[in-house]
């Protein structure tokens, strides 16, 4: 049984950077280069560049002479490792045991997932489906030991089989250069005519140890799966605060849409792993100088799907202006909460309706600003100005059981008026309250009709008569 899968991304950094850009840009030839002992060579290239003859390990000069419009950037291993971690988070939705093999590989333990995903083919299919969301070139291979899977994937051989024999055969044909052994060891083995791994494996272990040192016996044991170094499995972080660097300066929000989409896709997998949802995001656009532009985003209801996150964030961003070009974009998840409690109540219809009302409110708040979308509240206070208020939307506004005739409208500020303009109909109702703070009132309220027969709510106090509300 082959219990391990290895995923190798030969062009991870470049592919990932292209994934953050509009798809039409990836049709331009692009490559990453690295300095290596006074020689600058191509380490990663996209398909467009490869088709025009650029090759990995080709000198930079040669590549740019061959394809003059080739766009070159610097390779950065730390950035690539960071991306690998982000990918691990995405794949953690399907795979439980992941080992990071920076800078370009991920190792998976399959045995424990066979029942969940209906066998080996199910696991592979699951992983391929997940990877389809990302335009990354990858090689996936199985193996009876971590090292065997790794060697096959890293050398570009994709052997997907449950039979150890298939893997063994492929490994045996692997040239010694792909063994992953240190260069002097490979040299020694080649010198005695051992040109493939198969030839090395055929020799008795004791003889190998005697001739080439103990390191090689450990290597063979590791390859055979007899000995395995302890693996440190990946644990998803409990916070989400990721940043992506952009290849070029960006001047407007619409251009940031692609990187944002990718980041929110990661947010979705982060929330999915923990079975969380969120009510707030912080989007930051980083500039060359000065502080980052921060866009806090609040949702009136808990969301976790990329689709919802994106549409609400977009509405927020439409209101923002970028003052400086952007070099990097980051997203932080704030206030994540468990999804559990919500879903139990989902079956009752009223909950579903409040949920969609909350979704509408989220959308309105995103576009208009939070303070402009309000709900009605009743408070225990006799002073009319405090008894009923409008506050930024909260879904759990309480309905007090008030049965006193009160007007449906309250003027923001009581208007001075003349007693003669009104026919008193009902009253007075004396309200004396608020002696505990500075806002003390002592008023006699009346319901009265004005010259157009409108029902108003007026009061008399020591300063005279005032109109305070309307009934209809």
């Amino acid at each position: 049984m082959n219990a391990w899968l290895y995923l190798h991304f030969p062009h991870l950094l470049l592919d990932y950077q292209l994934a953050l850009q509009p798809p039409e840009l990836s049709t331009m030839p692009q490559a990453l280069t690295q300095s290596h002992a006074a020689r600058r060579t191509v380490v990663q290239a996209n398909n467009a560049a490869l088709q025009q003859g650029v090759q990995v390990d080709m000198a930079e000069v040669l590549a740019s002479t061959l394809v003059p419009q080739l766009k070159l950037h610097d390779y950065d291993a730390t950035k690539e490792s960071a991306m690998l971690t982000q990918l691990a988070q995405v794949l953690y939705q399907d795979m439980a045991q992941i080992v990071l093999q920076p800078p370009q590989g991920l190792l998976f333990e399959v045995q424990s997932l066979l029942r969940l995903h209906q066998g080996f083919a199910g696991v592979v299919k699951r992983m391929q489906a997940r990877l389809q969301q990302w335009p990354l070139r990858y090689i996936l291979s199985s193996g009876y030991s971590p090292l065997s899977a790794k060697l096959l994937a890293a050398s570009g051989h994709s052997v997907l089989s449950t039979e150890p024999a298939d893997v063994k055969a492929a490994i045996a044909e692997l040239p010694i250069e792909y063994s992953g052994l240190p260069e002097p060891q490979i040299e020694k083995l080649r010198n005695v005519g051992l040109l493939t791994l198969g030839a090395v494996l055929q020799l008795p272990a004791a003889e190998l140890g005697a001739r080439f040192g103990r390191a090689i016996t450990t290597y063979v044991a590791e390859l055979n799966g007899d000995f395995s170094a302890p693996q440190s499995f990946y644990h998803p972080p409990h916070r989400f605060d990721e940043q992506v660097e952009l290849n070029a300066e960006v001047h407007s929000w619409p251009q940031l849409l692609f990187p944002l989409k990718r980041l929110l896709q990661q947010v979705e997998s982060f929330l999915e792993i923990h079975q969380w949802s969120t009510r707030a995001l912080l989007i930051r656009a980083h500039h060359r100088t000065g502080p980052a532009t921060q866009v806090p985003i609040q949702f009136a209801h808990a969301v976790w799907q990329q689709r919802d996150l994106l549409s609400l964030s977009q509405l927020h961003l439409e209101r923002q202006k970028l003052k400086q070009p952007v070099l990097a974009l980051s997203v932080r998840v704030q206030r994540p909460e468990s999804r559990q409690a919500k879903e139990q109540a989902m079956f009752s219809a009223p909950q579903a309706q409040t949920d969609s009302l909350n979704a509408l409110v989220s959308r309105l708040q995103a576009r208009l600003g939070e303070s402009k979308v309000q709900s009605l509240h009743v408070h225990d206070d006799w002073r009319p100005e405090y008894q009923g208020t409008l506050k930024p939307w909260q879904s759990d506004s309480t309905s007090g059981g008030l049965l006193l005739p009160r007007p449906a409208w309250l003027l923001p500020q009581a208007e001075p008026t003349e007693r003669q303009q009104w026919q008193l109909q009902w009253g007075p109702e004396r309200i004396v309250s608020g002696w505990w703070n500075a806002d003390t009132i002592a008023r006699d309220y009346y319901i009265a009709l004005d010259q157009w027969q409108r029902q108003g709510w007026i009061y008399q106090c020591d300063k005279g008569w005032f109109l305070h509300g309307w009934f209809s």
């Binding site: 509408l360 959308r363 309105l364």
Partner: protein
């Protein structure tokens, strides 16, 4: 009722239409009772679902909200208020039996955004009534709202000041409200019928009792 063949042909072509009668294909469930019998009979059964209605008021607060209270206080109603003239007062609305948690109030000075808000609400499944206060919507705006209301079978009310000369708008009903002794409602436009002269509507029944002036 059967018509002679030639008349039937005209009806089929839509060149001839029936005055007072609500066509049979407009079944009862397509109307939402306004709560006022005198208004319901004149509108053919109540507010037509999927319609934008205009309430022109001579002065603000003469009874336009009272006219809508029966629909607003229904248990199934979820309403969005766009740009009400002053603060809707929670204790008073409680007194009128409105469920406060089902009312969303939006204040947006920008005309375009206010319309966007109303349209979003009409498209959403959560809200079934939209109230909008506006000085006078353009023909395009009314048409857009009407389209949104019709596809989702929602009700919208636009409360505007009394318009001096009537310009054509896509409102399904246009009412003019005025107060003499009681609230007088004049129907400027309605489905399935001619305009009607003002008639008294007993909305004061929902309000604190009035006493005759001495």
């Amino acid at each position: 009722m059967a018509y002679p063949a030639q008349v039937e042909a005209l009806v089929q072509k839509g060149w001839l239409w029936q005055g007072q009668e609500v066509p049979a294909n407009k079944a009862e469930q397509q109307f939402l009772s306004s709560g006022w019998a005198e208004l319901d009979t004149r509108l053919g059964g109540g507010w037509l679902r999927g319609s934008v209605n205009e309430l022109q008021v001579r002065q603000p607060f003469i009874g336009e909200l009272a006219l809508l209270l029966p629909v607003l206080s229904q248990a199934t109603t979820t309403a969005l208020w766009v740009n009400p003239p002053v603060q809707p007062y929670a204790p008073g609305l409680c007194y009128q039996k409105l469920t406060l948690s089902r009312h969303v109030v939006v204040h947006e000075a920008d005309d375009k955004l206010a319309l966007w808000t109303a349209e979003q609400a009409l498209h959403s499944d959560a809200v079934n009534i939209v109230l909008m206060w506006h000085a006078g919507l353009s023909a395009t705006a009314v048409r857009r709202l009407q389209q949104a209301a019709e596809t989702k079978q929602k009700l919208a009310f636009v409360i505007t000041p009394w318009q001096q000369q009537e310009e054509a708008r896509a409102y399904v009903t246009r009412l003019q409200l005025e107060r003499s002794d009681s609230l007088a409602v004049r129907i400027l436009k309605r489905r399935f019928g001619w305009p009607l002269p003002p008639f008294p509507c007993g909305v004061d029944a929902r309000l604190p009792r009035r006493r005759r002036a001495l």
